[in-house]
Symmetry: C2
Subunit: 295 residues, 2 copies
């Protein structure tokens, strides 16, 4: 039987969305919670939490207590988008098909809602529902998330991204930037899933390798979509990289060579997990999805 990725994505997205909703009070939520939910529930693709769940499956695990860390990954991703969109950063007005948070609410609320999502990600790792996980594992998850999201990971990537505006980066610099900005959290998603799923060290390493390569492909496709994508489908403006004179793969290599590079990266990702059995089929399908996606 062929693996049905659409069905898989829909089921996992529903599971993640339900878990995210369950984390917040049902009624009478104050403005800060409304703001957090506005961005969190705006229909994101849930790529990071799904990769996390799929990595656990790939090592044969489907443990209780994985959904909390998966939600934490999405919260950290969402906070980074909220702060990235701020007037003091990229000053973007549309995201996931709706006005960005500082447009829909106000700038101060957007700053604080981003802070709150980042903080809540760590709180979520310590709540009852994660008590299925042994304490040492939970602490390793806290550490992995903090490192991936922190000033030697995602934030360092964002700093490099800001510094690169109007600069001509070469391919090595561009890869280094994105291995931090996008790659660190995607790799972390694979690591957390593999760790909690009970993967052996060589399996965890293989899945991190997989993560690095799909992370690179993911970013290349993002850059390509910023050139040729449909704003209505992507849910945000296109052409913004060019107008900001950002170094991108298409700008550096052209569209065809960028597409080829993304394909090669996906090949390497699949190569990294050849030793895995059919439980890794969701990951294999996700790798293909990343390169074919239209948003």
């Amino acid at each position: 039987m062929l693996f049905d990725l659409n069905q898989y994505l829909t089921a996992k997205q529903r599971q993640i969305n339900q878990a995210l909703i369950a984390l917040f009070p049902k009624e009478g939520s104050p403005r800060i919670v409304q703001a957090m939910q506005y961005s969190l529930m705006a229909g994101g693709k849930r790529v990071r939490p799904i990769l996390c769940l799929a990595a656990a499956e790939a090592v044969g695990g489907n443990p209780e207590g994985l959904i909390g860390p998966a939600c934490a990954l999405e919260m950290i991703h969402t906070y980074s988008l909220i702060h990235d969109d701020l007037p003091g950063m990229d000053n973007d007005e549309m995201r996931r098909g709706q006005p960005t948070l500082h447009v829909a609410f106000d700038e101060a609320t957007a700053i604080l809602a981003g802070d709150a999502l980042l903080t809540f990600a760590f709180e979520t790792l310590t709540t009852e529902s994660n008590h299925a996980l042994p304490d040492p594992v939970r602490l390793r998850v806290v550490q992995a998330l903090a490192r991936a999201a922190g000033h030697r990971g995602m934030i360092e990537g964002q700093m490099r991204d800001l510094a690169a505006e109007g600069q001509a980066l070469d391919l090595t610099e561009l890869k280094a930037l994105h291995s931090k900005k996008t790659g660190a959290l995607i790799k972390c998603a694979l690591y957390i899933g593999a760790l909690i799923g009970g993967g052996k060290p060589n399996q965890i390493e293989a899945l991190e390798n997989f993560g690095e390569n799909i992370g690179l492909a993911f970013q290349i496709v993002d850059d390509i979509l910023n050139v040729v994508g449909d704003p209505d489908i992507i849910g945000k403006a296109t052409g913004t990289d060019a107008s900001r004179q950002k170094s991108t793969y298409p700008a550096l290599l052209g569209l065809d060579q960028s597409r080829a590079m993304a394909r090669e990266s996906i090949e390497r990702a699949l190569q990294a997990i050849t030793a895995f059995d059919r439980h890794a089929d969701p990951l294999r399908a996700l790798a293909a999805y990343i390169i074919e996606r239209k948003r």
Copy 2:
């Protein structure tokens, strides 16, 4: 022998500053680390980490592994100041006697450095030097910090603070605001110190009660200093609350009654820890310091 608070503060500040410096690379630090250090090492009073250390002493403990959580408290406090000062929030230009981070660096760097300090606080709780602490204790510290700093704690207080500009709050509303904005993290500092120090449940409760009351006094004094303080000593502009039409204790009660209320609050704090022996003398002296401070 009388307890010498100045000597105590100087020694603890040195210990905390050394620990904070040791967390960062010695040389070649990238711009994001420079920005984090700029605000972190700007000569803050280190009230929260010192309260944390003093709470551990009060229950008779002086454990290894306490300095990491103490540093984490200061990082979270510093990040909250950085974001509070942003143009999209209070738009303040001076802090701790030097230009605020977004003035000295730039707005995007200030947003990211705040994010990075918040994230690094959680990473710090998971590093080797804290392995002296049992895993369940470390997880409780992660949880306590995340809750105190999060959208039901400090951030909720900041939201209320923003909503209150130009509004006339009554005393109950003002107290509720500050019990979140300033109180939550101060109370958390006492909790963490008491927990790691090995305090019994009734001791931890007493120290949290102490924390709530000095937190209130701390905020009242902050408000008073904003009216009558010396900007050169405080290191930031005064009179800003009045020009922003902020609800403050002096605005609501007048200076004399505000001072009386701060004194009563300190009395209640001291009352909460009467059962403690001389190991709580630093806390008693700190309570007096909070009300007498000029900055």
